[in-house]
Amino acid sequence: MNGSQDISTVALALAYLLLLIPLILAYYFNIRIVKRLIISVIRMTGQLFVVGIALIYFFKLDNNWLNAAWVIGMIIFAAVSTANNSELNYRIFLFPIFLAFLVSTGLILWFFNAVLVDLNNVFDARYLIVIGGMLLGNSLKGDIIGISKFYEDLKKDEKRYLYHLAAGANQKEAIVPFFRDSMTAALKPFIASMATMGVVFFQV
């Protein structure tokens, strides 16, 4: 066998037929998700098309500044998506979320490229962009679950927060129970996927 088989453009287009399954289910059970589903597929196609072309040039140029700028661009996109999906006020939350993603992704990328892979140039496009994209893509789900649960619970259970303040907690001590709950919820899908890794593959 000579490596893996290439997928033809026609075959790739045919893959869209798989979309019929959720569409039929949505129609049958009257789930109002068709519009969102179609918009997401169009967005995904457009984004992958543009990114695919852009990446050809990025990999060819392999310029450290451009590679770093690409990763920062991905982080901005992930921060906007998280604030959006968690229904948070952009003006207040976008910058702190961006900063949190920048520091955490940056540190993990450095650890992976410099320590684990032992690259001479940690900004190498083949590693920085690809691993950065995988990190952000995979952590996005957990980020959205954790951040939205944290603020939703605080809003829903304000009485609990106020009770802890009244019992002598400082602000940090009073939010710890909420932080604990949201961290648990955010880590749950990853714990489940790690536990089935090698048996069931569902993370890229």
Binding site: Y163, A167, G168
Partner: protein
């Protein structure tokens, strides 16, 4: 000497005035029952004293100290608050109590298991319940866990908001006797229960004051 003073307080929610030029003085060691129609601002009064709400006008003084964003932390550490619908999370009762007494402000209290279980017994709560889950507790049991926590906090002022509402008569008596017997403590009680009517309890009717 006044421990709590509310001076010329204005507060409104939307277009509704809850307090208008409202004033109140509570003396150290006083036992005060606050009554009034629903919506008159009884719980709001407690939230103002705890700094959870800011009046539009007027000042709140606690032990001579003006309540503001800096002093509020010290003031809260002198007050124990128990409400009728205790929202204390969903984990273990034991973890909830341990968390409260692990706070920097409460570490000096050195509360041990024996202290907790003695009070649990006093308020008809079993030892198994201490190791049980909060979600398995009834409303009355949650109230009593909150009462136990507040007594162990040993604060100089107690704000008790309908804390006997979910208890039977015998327990109501027990709780009222316990708090009204704390001679040096200042106790403010919001309640419609007769058990709080006693010779040393001053009655404040918010309907007539506001």
């Amino acid at each position: 000497m006044n421990i709590i003073s509310l001076k010329d307080i204005d507060l409104k929610f939307g277009s509704k005035h809850v307090f208008k030029s409202f004033g109140l003085d509570i003396q150290k060691g006083e036992k005060v029952r606050i009554k009034g129609k629903s919506g008159v601002g009884k719980t709001t009064l407690f939230r103002l004293i705890l700094g959870f709400l800011k009046p539009e006008k007027g000042n709140i003084l606690y032990d001579g100290l003006k309540l503001d964003s800096n002093s509020v932390w010290d003031v809260r550490r002198s007050i124990a608050y128990v409400s009728q619908d205790m929202s204390i999370g969903e984990g273990l009762v034991k973890d909830f109590l341990e968390e409260i007494f692990s706070y920097e402000a409460n570490k000096h209290l050195n509360v041990d298991l024996e202290n907790i279980l003695t009070l649990f017994r006093q308020f008809d709560l079993s030892g198994e319940l201490y190791r049980g889950r909060i979600s398995d507790l009834s409303g009355g049991e949650k109230q009593r866990v909150g009462i136990v926590a507040s007594i162990l906090l040993d604060r100089s002022t107690y704000l008790l908001d309908e804390i006997t509402s979910a208890l039977d008569e015998a327990l109501k008596e027990k709780v009222a006797r316990c708090f009204l017997g704390l001679n040096e403590k200042t106790i403010l009680i919001i309640s419609h229960d007769q058990v709080w009517e006693a010779e040393n309890v001053k009655l404040i009717d918010l309907d007539s004051l506001n």
